[in-house]
């Protein structure tokens, strides 16, 4: 019976490794300049974790096979005590592996989070609220008008609580329900939540960042492939969470300029 168990462990371990090795569920095409590093990091993590997983399962199976019929009188090694060397060795090995992943991962992480955006990055504001994303562009003056939360009124589409009557900077601000960006241009996304926690996730862009109520969070990225991609909320935010999405549209500079013009004309 124990030997059958050992064989089943080996079969399960190998079967679960096959789709990973064959890239059955590969990530969608990367459309960002920083994504290659993230993909590389994910790949490395997968290889390391995969080897550790397979090794652990095979050793487990080996032990079960080897020592399952030792009789009642045989002595078990305990920790602390007999197995001290083995346990410390295992802790060091796993610790080193996790540490190594962290050290190598800094490259991908720092590139996105610890490096400030370039001075000429285009600022776009993103607001998450139950259950939609809205985006604001500063308009020709390059300035965002101040936000007055008490003036937020979805009924007349004043989604950010702007007061164009009194704030000159607000008058040319453009508010849209989709995130249009020009290709090969760094975007500095300034994020805030209107109500509860939300998350901004675009698989193809390799960006996932939470909105935290009360915090001004930001990310920066450069998209390098024209197309339309889905933005989804990946932080359970309430009843309509399943339906909270928007679209990221990466356009040529020309198309983007036309889009802006069209939006501001409305």
């Amino acid at each position: 019976m124990a030997k059958l168990f050992a064989v089943i462990i080996v079969i399960i371990a190998i079967l679960s490794a096959i789709p990973i090795v064959k890239h059955t569920w590969a990530a969608p095409e990367d459309i960002s300049t920083h994504g290659a590093l993230i993909d590389e990091q994910m790949g490395e993590t997968m290889v390391e974790a995969g080897i550790a997983f397979l090794a652990a399962q095979l050793i487990l199976a080996l032990f079960v096979w080897q020592f399952s019929n030792r009789g009642r009188e045989s002595k078990l090694k305990t920790f602390p005590g007999g197995a001290k060397g083995l346990v410390i060795g295992a802790i060091l090995l796993v610790g080193l592996e996790v540490l190594a992943l962290g050290v190598f991962g800094v490259k991908a992480w720092a590139n996105q989070y610890l490096t400030p955006p370039a001075a000429n990055a285009m600022p776009i504001q993103a607001q998450a609220g139950q259950f939609a994303f809205y985006f604001r562009y500063p308009g020709p003056d390059g300035k965002f008008g101040p936000i007055h939360p008490e003036m937020i009124n979805e009924g007349n589409q004043n989604l950010f609580g702007l007061d164009p009557e009194h704030d000159v900077e607000s008058r040319d601000d453009i508010v849209a329900a989709e995130l249009a960006v020009p290709i090969n241009k760094e975007i500095h996304l300034l994020m805030h939540a209107k109500d509860v926690g939300h998350s901004f996730f675009v698989r193809e862009l390799r960006v996932q960042q939470d909105f935290v109520p009360g915090l001004d969070v930001s990310v920066h990225f450069t998209a390098n492939k024209v197309g339309k991609y889905e933005i989804v909320c990946t932080q359970l935010c309430g009843l309509g969470h399943y339906n909270m999405r928007a679209y990221l549209e990466v356009m040529s500079q020309q198309d983007f300029d036309n889009w802006l013009k069209q939006q501001s004309g409305q």
């Binding site: 139950q130 939609a132 979805e154 009924g155 007349n156 589409q157 849209a176 009843l239 339906n243 999405r245």
Partner: protein, 233 residues
């Protein structure tokens, strides 16, 4: 015996006067100035709704017509005519169609049945933001039966959908049957007003209220117009 006769005559007279000497108030609601341009609504996150509109719908907080006409203004008798206590037996219907509330402004009598229908392929969560009446919000997945309810106190209630932030409507719960909602031409009509002194109130969701006094002496038609000052933003 004599008192009874007098009473009978009096009540007959009253009933007759109500029918025979019923005045009508006609009028038009207009605006001065330049109203803010209606903003288009982007429904791309809800494709089943977006495809129902060939061109994007716009905000309906202020709907205007030709010659400065103002639509969707509720005009009603706010004082002068005591409530006859007659709650219309038929229900009023508030429809959710193409991720939009139809009608945008729905008037009902206190305690009149209100039927809320979801005609869309998506879930809605209707949330009337009442302050005087009890506030509630209910989820209504596609294909589910209408929600029926009523309000027992007069109030103007903004309605929103908790799932689709752009959806916006208004309930006007009145304690009178003398009301009308201005049409595309801005016109309204309040018929069957017995002789008396009345105060009419015109309510616009963005521009507030205006009142006017009118006296009906007999079988006559009077004209009362309302003019709102438009907000540019």
């Amino acid at each position: 015996m004599r008192t009874r006769q007098t009473l009978l005559t009096l009540s007959t007279l009253l009933v007759f006067s109500a029918v025979m000497f019923a005045g009508t108030v006609n009028g038009k609601v207009t605006y001065t100035g330049t109203p803010a341009k209606p903003k288009p609504i982007d429904m791309s996150k809800e494709p089943s709704c977006a495809k129902q509109h060939a061109t994007p719908i716009t905000t309906e907080s202020v709907v205007t017509g030709p010659d400065n006409a103002l639509e969707n203004v509720v005009v009603y008798v706010s004082s002068g005519a005591p409530d006859d206590g007659q709650v219309p037996p038929q229900a009023v219907t508030f429809d959710q169609k193409g991720c939009q509330y139809v009608p945008h402004v729905l008037v009902m009598h206190t305690d009149q049945e209100l039927k809320i229908v979801n005609d869309d392929q998506t879930s809605h969560n209707i949330h009337p933001l009442s302050k005087v009446n009890v506030e509630w919000n209910k989820s209504q997945p596609p294909g589910t039966p209408p929600i029926t309810t009523k309000y027992d106190k007069p109030e103007f209630i903004s309605v929103k959908c908790n799932i689709h932030p752009w959806m916006h409507g208004e309930f006007a719960v009145l304690k009178t049957n003398h009301f009308d909602v201005s049409k595309g031409s801005g016109t309204f009509s309040l018929p069957n007003l017995p002789p008396g002194k009345y105060t009419l109130t015109a309510w616009q969701e963005d521009y507030g209220v205006q009142t006017a006094d009118v006296t009906i002496t007999g079988n006559e038609t009077k004209e009362v117009n309302f003019t709102f000052k438009a907000k540019a933003y």
